[in-house]
Amino acid sequence: MAFLEIQGVRKSYGAHPVVQNFDLAIKRGEFVSFLGPSGCGKTTTLRMVAGFETPSAGQIRIDDKDVTNLRPNQRHVGMVFQSYALFPNMTVADNVGFGLKVARKPAAEIRPRVEEMLRLIKLPALGARYPSQLSGGQQQRVALARALAVKPQVLLLDEPLSALDAKIRVSLREEIRSVQRELGITTVYVTHDQEEALSMSDRIVVMNEGRVEQIGTPFEIYNFPLTRFVASFVGTLNIMKGRVVDPAAGRIEVDGQPIMAARGVVDAKAGDLRSVALRPEAARLANGKDAPGDDGNRMQGSIEEVSFLGSVVRVRVRFKDSAISLDTFNTPHVPPPERGQPATVSFGRADLLVLEGAPPA
């Protein structure tokens, strides 16, 4: 059922492990991102799928064929590089047709395919230009066309947008996703930008220091992070130090104020320290008029900082050691709160994330 399988793959340079026990099964046509900071092993894993690195252990299978020991030019896989890697001595058309030329396809077959690819990336008129005459965004699109021209079974992209301006990045990632959907090609996308991963992927693999932290859909990764690393790497997060009061009931104390989690706290006993996290969009400034009977959480503090950002007003409320940042919409007839004012922050029980492991000291 899985089209691309990475089974038990490990990679070490000498005694130094770079990728540890990577297991992933990707379905045909799926778009999977490897997300993580620099040095987390995501690019190394991608290069093992491409064939530029050999795994120290484990297997890679494509369409149920073991490709682990095949050379890159035997795997029929496409790759887009961060630095575009277009051949400077060839025109755009020659670059795109390169894979077909080395496969000794007749010129009559290469030409229409190249034109088709140029139309796909919406650059039909640039066939005769040289890479040095194109912008970065255009070069990357040509690189994409070049990789797809040979109809590879898997498409690999290694941080393709990192070298581009922010505006181009946004438009290009939409284009990449729509091309991928149109062709239905199985894709692995490596990035350190969580916005890219969240907006483009069917599934995300979050990696840190060679290990897989979590695999899930963007919705799962963002809303139900399993580890502190995933929670803080993906999206912004308010993190507070809490002490477990009643693990079974999920009662926790933060800065002396009691709050409740939706479920009990696993693997904890009373008195344990735990990190609790809250997404900014889950918190609200409550006024005292809310009905006392609701089962949400409330914390009392004072307003430490107010940032007016236009349509959004960002407010930071401080308790004792912890603080919560939350966003409220700007309403013209209501003045924003002032620093020093007392404030009540309310949030639902289900919005409170209790993270595994003790908080850092």
Partner: protein, 300 residues
């Protein structure tokens, strides 16, 4: 006047000499320009002009015509052959050495060692180099005697002679190869690793990568450096002199003999000889410069 210079002296250095005071700006480069005039431009110019004059000072093309007499023509021809042979040989061997050091996947210490040695070897030319090759491949040289002792093979019996065209070309390789290595190594560095990987993932074999990507990018460097090697060998004399004395008839040795003792019995013909030399080395170097600027553009 004194007042003005006092005011001028108090201004900062940058302001002191404004473009409007055009003349003063040139003082800074005057020594250099005078030097260039005295030791580069005038001497060369004198020879070039003299090539077109007869002993009385009248304009003539006779000297140029005289260059085509058999003995001089053959000197040029032998010079060209030796230079071409050592240039092409140096280019080929140098290319493979540079390739091995940069892209061959060898241990890390190989490349700096090769570069350092190339730096030294490219300067170890002239008389000492001739001595070295005489001591190695001369009639009683080490290699010659070893080959006789262990393989019963006398290279001189095959007609090989160090004091000949091929011997000279072989000796010239000692500084031609390092020169190629030193110039080509940065060019090979310019071959981005991603090009190789991109070609490979698109299905290209090593040979296809070289044929379609690497060599097209590199050929201006390779060709240009070969021409530089050619000019280099063409103007060389000390090595040849140390090896063959004045017996080998190449242009530089002929010119040397002419300067020493007017063997051509025609002063102006000597100038024409020099003119021919400058023409050939000048053209080769010009081609090298043009090609290396092309190479720089191509590696972007």
């Amino acid at each position: 006047m004194a007042e003005q210079s006092q005011v001028v002296a108090r201004l900062p250095l940058m302001a002191r000499i404004r473009p409007e005071q055009g003349f003063l700006v040139w003082i800074g480069v005057a020594p250099f320009l005078i030097f260039a005039l005295m030791f580069l431009i005038l001497p060369t110019g004198y020879l070039l002009v003299g090539a077109f004059q007869d002993p009385a000072g009248n304009f003539t093309l006779a000297n140029i015509g005289d260059l085509f007499q058999p003995s001089i023509l053959s000197a040029y021809w032998i010079s060209i052959e030796v230079s071409a042979a050592s240039a092409i040989g140096g280019a080929i061997v140098g290319f493979f050495l540079a390739y091995a050091a940069v892209l061959g996947g060898l241990p890390n210490w190989i490349r700096p060692t090769l570069m350092t040695f190339s730096g030294v070897a490219s300067n170890f030319a002239g008389i000492p180099l001739a001595f070295a090759f005489l001591a190695t491949l001369g009639r009683v040289g080490l290699v010659t005697t070893l080959l006789i002792k262990f393989f019963d093979f006398n290279i001189y019996s095959t007609g090989f002679n160090l004091l000949s065209f091929w011997g000279l070309a072989l000796t010239y390789l000692y500084f031609q190869i390092p020169l190629m290595v030193l110039i080509l190594t940065p060019a090979l560095d310019g071959l981005k690793r991603e090009w190789r990987e991109a070609a490979s993932i698109l299905g290209a074999s090593t040979w296809q990568y070289w044929r379609h990507v690497a060599l097209p990018v590199l050929w201006p460097s390779i060709l240009g450096t070969t021409l530089l090697l050619f000019a280099n060998a063409f103007g060389a004399i000390a090595t040849a002199y140390g090896l063959t004395g004045s017996s080998l008839n190449i242009v530089t040795i002929l010119l040397y003999a002419q300067i020493r003792g007017d063997v051509l019995h025609n002063e102006n013909l000597g100038y024409a000889l020099a003119l021919g030399m400058i023409l050939i080395t000048g053209l080769s170097n010009a081609a090298y410069i043009w090609l290396s600027s092309r190479a720089r553009r191509g590696l972007r």
